[in-house]
Homo-oligomer: 194 residues x 4
């Protein structure tokens, strides 16, 4: 019988967080500022979120983190598939607000590894799964050496993405190609029979 939580307020806060992130960066975001910007009282924020990081997490989930929204199909070309995903990630990071989101995630993780790692997993895991699945299939098809650790491959792509976002270096086509080629060459099965 009580009054239910206001979805309205919730969305306002998340939107305010996204705007503030893009404008000033995670560190400069204050709960007071968020409340004012969202037209919401501080109490309402504290009622529903335990910390600034939690709001960020929700804002991140509600939005789209660069590279996270993978629902890419598998083609028959491993190189093309990897390039496809990595290119997409690069495009996401070409939008400043997405860089801001990524940096916020990094900042939280650097500050509070516990919480940050959890958040990271939520975004990284689907990507890891997708890459691992794709690489594994390639292994089954004999295109990739069987001793290759698919997870390590996935990791490399995520590390490169994170590092680029952190340093603000755009993932240009050249850089995408370079890494994709390095990796695919590195894991390719040796030409049999020679």
């Amino acid at each position: 019988m009580p009054r239910p939580r206001s979805e309205n307020a919730r969305q306002s806060v998340l939107a305010a967080m996204r705007r503030a992130l893009a404008a000033d960066g995670y560190d400069a975001v204050t709960i007071e500022g968020l409340a004012a910007e969202a037209g919401v009282s501080k109490q309402t924020i504290y009622r529903w979120w335990p910390s600034k990081a939690a709001i960020l997490g929700e804002a991140l989930l509600e939005g789209s983190l660069p590279g996270a929204d993978v629902a890419l199909p598998f083609s028959d070309d491993l190189t093309a598939d990897l390039r496809g995903w990595f290119t997409l990630a690069g495009e996401n990071l070409s939008r400043p607000e997405n860089v801001a989101l990524a940096r916020a995630l990094i900042a939280v993780t650097a500050t509070d590894p516990e919480r940050g790692a959890a958040l990271n997993h939520r975004f990284a895991d689907p990507v890891v799964s997708w890459i691992v699945a794709r690489v594994t299939r390639a292994q089954e098809e004999g295109d990739v050496r069987p001793d290759v650790d698919a997870a390590a491959v996935a990791d490399q792509f995520l590390a490169a993405t994170s590092y680029s976002a952190l340093l603000g270096r755009p993932l240009t086509a050249a850089r995408v190609d370079a890494l994709v080629e390095l990796v695919t060459q590195g894991i390719a099965a040796r030409p049999r029979g020679r």
Copy 2:
């Protein structure tokens, strides 16, 4: 002719910063806490450093950042050389205080890319130079394909190091080997004549 700057105070502040980083993380470091811990007045800190990040920078330079102190000689084995450096980086990151330093650097960069990038360069550049030089020699010797971008190779190692530090994942021998192998295979010249 005025009284010269107190080297004593300077060292106290840097030491306090390092201790505080290891203890509570960059975010929790306060200028007031630093001053108290260092037995120095706030004014002295503000006189000589424009920001918390600047103190971190100096503390970092004065100390040793994991993986930064490369003065490794080249052997005849590219794989061994790369593994050598990467192993060293991993060992550095096995010490918690070094993880704290690395995370602080990441946090600063995520928060203030301008300043952070500058700091990053000071640590990354020597490593990049070393790796590029080594890979370039390998190219000259025909062990690495000439179209490989040596800088991209260096980048991958740094990205992996940074990402590991961020997530607190130790760079175990297995992980070191996996990446080194992936990269060396990826850049290796195709067996000629066939």
Copy 3:
């Protein structure tokens, strides 16, 4: 509809001000000290008072400034009435905390005449009114020369009070009598017809 101002905090601050004045003098009073002593946050003080002087003003009004609380009745004897008030003022100034209050008022006025004059008026005006009324009645009754400026008479008493408080000279009965006599003689109507 927000939470209303805490009367509790307000009183604590004023009490702390009064205690601090008596203990160390106006100049030595600090907002921080007041806040600590009152068990109140600095912000609360800054929220409600624009300056230390404003707190003093309120503390003064809420308390009683020596000589300010005149509700003395008129008798038929002008001299007795003036002596009555002036004696009362002297008694008030015999209490150290009242001297401290008076000196604080003087210090504020010497430092910030604008604000100080306003405060002064709040305390002086009732006294001036009372004295002027009493002297005027005496003029109407023919006991005081009609050309006497009643306000100047009042002024003399206030000046004497203020100067005594400033120099810390107690207003003894002898000094009270001397001034009262000097004034009453000075304004007395000349014995008529003779």
Copy 4:
């Protein structure tokens, strides 16, 4: 053979104090400001003066406090003599820098009665002596009642002067006349024989 104290520096400091007083008031004067304005090092100030108040004292003595420089001759007319001095005091107080000096003296006294009283005496005593001497002569000549306390008379003039300076009320001719008349009437010998 040590280097003697620089009279130059001393004068610069005193001049700076006088300028600062007139410009911003005693409270706003800082030792650092004084040093800068005087082109003198802080150490030089601290070497020669124990406190801001001491500098004020010296500046006051070196200059002229309103009403302090009495070397007035006695005429045969008590009223005229008193009016003469009081008028002079009023004229001194018509110059803003003198008001500033007087207020500074009051501020010091209100803040530090000990030191302030000492300073006050140095300025008030000659005046008191002069007035007492003049009134005493009038008593000897039978123009003033013998039971009148000459010191109390002097006190009244000083109190009025101080109070006027404090409140910033100019000592106009009218106010001067009113007080002089009140006092002279108050102390006048009753017309004898009648």
